[in-house]
Each structure stands twice: as structure tokens, then as C-alpha cells.
Amino acid sequence: MATLTLLQAINDGLRTAMRDDPSVLVFGEDVGKKGGVFLATENLQKEFGAKRCFDTPLSEDGIVGAAIGMAMNGLKPVAEIQFQDFIFPAFDQIVSEAAKLRYRSGGQYTAPLVIRTPYGGGIRGGLYHSQSGEAYFCHTPGLKVVVPSTPHDAKGLLLASIADPDPVLFLEPKALYRSVKGEVPEGSYRVELSTLREARAGKDVTVFCYGAMVPVSLKAAEESLASGIDVRVVDLRTLLPLDEEGVLEHARSTGRVVVVHEAPRFCGFGAEISALIAEHAIEYMEAPVVRVTGFDTPFPNTLEHHYLPDHRRVLDAIERVAHF
């Protein structure tokens, strides 16, 4: 097994998929010669040629629309949107088209494509290079939404997404691209979609999180030990379709829950977790579910470290629910 960064694991996942299946294509803005602005597609054009890894004109609408057509016609497109912040010209294609094609055609047509895109803060990117827009997409039946947080999962979830018969939005936490490293098996393997990962065992409080908030939550969990609180950290990995039973089991077992995400709070993914627990596990709960999130404001630039939840904010929430 090689030790790779999350970015290298994604690159390795793309290469593995392209080697295993000649119908897999990688395209988007600057993914060819340049290898992507973050270098996630580095050397793919060199190895597989410009027919399988290529640049497109500057149109997200065109990228996703064309990917839908290719997927309908037997190819396996893996489209890159340079930043999740720039996905909105393709919102129509994703929400109205890719996600609804199977349903509206009675299953006659499908669009098994993958859209990879870096999301989230931590790079001083201001309003338009930092957003976490998962909630917009999680409100879209027919779409799958996946967010890895470790190199192992990044590759395994990506390969599972490419193999999946439905459209998948694959959100890559850019803050972790180079900051996390881990062992990644060589060749092909899959991490099943819609499964949770217990990132840390603990019996007092469960922290649900995903993407770049996983290491933040783990750090808070470590520090909670000092105050005698034993924290479990659960990485959701797939937001849609969510493993609801898995979430409820963890919630019931600790009776105290914190949800962490960097996206704004209002109608954010934390609200879904909280509502799920309120509906189906309230009798097990010893404390209200507490959310630690970005603010309900656009994403600032200079002050992004105040906007982004850090381990201290998570720690405060853990203490609140532990001592409720």
C-alpha cells in the first residue's frame, strides 16, 4: 500500500478507473495538459490521450449537459467542475436533467455520470472559492452526494461512484487535498456508498461530520478526553442517500449528538440529522442535538478562520451536550 495525500488518492482513483474501463472519460476546464488547477487529473492526458482526458470550453452547463448525453450513450463520464462555487450554471442540468432522467423516462434512459468538484473553505478563497453547497444538492431526489475525508475513502468512494448506475456529485474537501495522508490500496477497490464510517470510537457523545470537518471533529474529540468525555466521531461519507438507520443507531447508543459542517446552518445538512433523530430517537436522547456550522452569511475572506468551525467550537458543543 502506498501512502498518498487525498489529492493523490483521487488521481490514483481516476487512473485506476480509466485503466480498468476504456469507457471512462475525464473532462472539464484545465484538466488536460495542466492536470487541473489542483492537479487532481495530473498526467491522465499523458497516459490515456486527449480522447479520454480533455479540456472543454468554459461552460459548466455544457460540461454537465454533455456528460449526461455521453452517459446516456454508454460512456462513463467523470466531469470536473473547477470549484463547486462555479457549478451553478450547471444547476439546471444536474437538478432538472441528470437527477430526473431515470424517473421521467420510466427507467428507459439513465445518466450514470460523476461530477467531481472541490468544495469548502480554508484556502483564503473568499466568497467564490470556499462555499459548501451540499444542501442545495441534497434536496434533489435522484442524485447521490458523496464527500470523502480520507485518502482511502476518496479512492474507494470515487471508484464506487464511477461504478454506480446513478448520477453522483462527488464533493472533494479542498482543505484536505494536501493536508491529509493515508494508506491507499493499489488497484481497484470500492467503498460502498451510503455507508457510515466510525472514525473514532467513544461512548458519551456522537459527533456526526463529513469532509474537512472530520479532522476538526477528531481533534475536538481528543481534547475532550481531558474533561473526561469519551467522544465518538462518525464520518457520514455519503450524504444522499443517507444511511439513516446507521445514524439513528449511533444517536441512540450515546444519547448525545453534535453535528458539524462548514456550510451555513439554516436548512443545512445538520438540520436533516437533527430532524431524523427528533423523529425516530427522541426517547433515547439525553440532550438536544447541537449544530456547529458556518454562519448564515456569505463566506468571508480575511476572517475565514472565524467563519469556519474549528476544534474549539466543536469542543464547546461537545461540552454543552455532555453536561446538559
Binding site: 488547477v37 483564503r124 473568499g126 472559492h129 480575511t302
Partner: protein, 372 residues
Amino acid sequence: MTTTEPLQVIQADGGVNGYDPQMPESELLHCYRAMLQVRAFDAICLKLQRAGRIGFSIPNEGIEATQVGAASALRKSDWIFPSYRDFGMALYHGVAPLEMMHNMFGNARDGAKGRQMPVHFSFVEPIRFVSISSPIGTHIPQAVGVAHAARLRGEDTVVLASFGDGGTSSLGFHSGLNFAGVWRSPVVFLCQNNGWAISCPTEEQTASDGFAIKGEAYGIPGVVVDGNDLLAVRKVTLAAVERARAGGGPTLIEAKTFRMGGHSTSDDPKRYVPAEQFEHWKKRDPIPRFEKFLQAAGLLDAAKAVAMNAEVTEEIAVAARAAEQVGPPALETIFSDVYAALPAHIRKQGEQAFDLAARRGEARSGDGTFPL
């Protein structure tokens, strides 16, 4: 109705074949000075970024004549919807380098309150230089809206919308041109064709024979101009602006130029731009070219050029040092301006953030106060 050969005015030797730019001497020198400012601002920002003192910048080297020539055709009552590579439009119209540096540092005096990335300027004075948005092409139909509103309100305002070759693939380009054609809006579309959209060359951006011709299908005349020739850019932009002001409708200008640096400070163009292209365009540098014209016209000599360059470089270096001394914006700026009035839930989040900062000993004066 569309031209295909780029219009040029300034010849290699600085001659203009008897062309009269109809600009007073002071105005010609002001254009020259603005180009020097852009280059100095650019070079200083690059150094600041390399030294880790600012996070990011956008190289403007090579594009100065397009920016300044086009801006010089506008009145102060006109509007600019700039791209992020348009430093010269602001500087020409008299935005102080210090104002721009506040944005580069995202500090407390930045007009946009440190919320945006560097180079995403916004100014209302001395000309409307509308807040830059990163998503490409979104501003193009907005510019048409401002122009249409001006007509409905009986104003003689003209709007300049500036974007790159890559921007012509955006949805906004097509809806913007279509609306402007139908409404005959007083808007000038400036496509800065610098050959590349990050690493995507023109031939992969479009199969069309250039960009000016794209106006034709929308009923908009297209004009191609040598973007490194300040007088030529000014000439075609002025004609387009005057036509728009007189009710003649929109124009699409394609300025052929070249980005001598990377796309941004995060980009290494050597990975994809062939070296010959840099050599080819180096010889067509817009600043020496305009210098030659000024010298041939007897308006500039070498000593004056050196002195002016030293003066603008010093001005911008001083601005950078001053902006660096200013602290970050107050915490309050995260929460204000989301709406006209602060909603209760955001106020609460703000108060929690102030409390937290205070508990951690990180609060600074002004952090804990919302404007009423």
C-alpha cells in the same frame, strides 16, 4: 458588419500615418502614466504574493493598453463592469492605488470589508467600477440591464462590460448579447482575447473565426482591434461608446492581446503556453510601443519616462506599505451587509462569535458592535 483584420494605429516606429487621436497632450501622458501604474502595481503584488504578504494576485502584464485605451473612452458618469484583469480601468479613472492595495490585503479599510479575494475590487467613485464577481460571465447581462435602465430613465450613460475569450463560452455572454441586440442597449462589450483561458487555448474555446463575429448572430457589429495598441483600442471603443450614446445600440469589440504572466499567482504558464508565444508577444509590449509614439510626437523623452516610472513605482510601493499596516476588518463585518437589516438569527450568530472571541482573548475593538 464585422471586421476581421485587427485595427492598428501605432506603427513599429511610433508613427501614426497622420492619424490625429484628438487627445490633449496631458491626456496622452495620463494614459501612459496609467499603464506604468498597472505594470508597477502588478510587479509589486507579485512580489508581495511570493513573499506571503498577500494571498493572491492576477497578472496584468501585456494587457495594459487594452484596459487603459478602453477606459479612456468613457465619461465618469458611465459604468464599468470589469473582469478581474482590469486594474488599468480603475487606475486610469483615478482610483487611488492605496484603495486597491487595501483590497489586496483584505484589510479594515478595504471598501469591500475584506470579504472578497484580492483583485475583486469594487468602487463607486470616481467611476462606477462594479464589484467583481468570480463566476465568469455573470456580469454581462447585468451590464445590459444597467444600460437598459439608463435608457428607460432618460440618462445618456454607456456601460462597458469587459471579459475574456473564455468568458464568451459562458451562459451570461449569450444571454447578455441577445438582450442587448433586441433592446439596442447602450452597452459596449469588450472581449479581451489574450489567447488563453487559464490553460485552454482559443482553438479549444471556440471553432469560430475569432470572437468579434459572435456578435453578428445577435445583430451586433463586431470590431477587431490590436489590443496592444492604445490608440487603436481607444479609437474603436470611443466609436462604439459614441454610437451607443447616440442610440445606435451595442458593439462587440475583440481586443487581441496576450497575458505575459500566469493566469494568477497560483498558475505556472510554462506548463502549457509554448515559449515562442511569450517571445512573439514580448516584442509587442504595449508600453514601449506607446512610448515610441509619444517620443515621435515630441511628448516624452527617455529621462521623463524614467522619472515618471520611478514616481509611480514609489507611489505604489508606499501604498502597499501603508495598506499592510492596517489591521483586519472587525468581526462584525462577517455579519453585516447580508441584508439591509440584520435578521435575528444572524445577529445571534454574530453575538455568539463575539462572545467566543472575547473568551479566547481574540476580540479587538469594534468587533462586538453591530451597525444599527
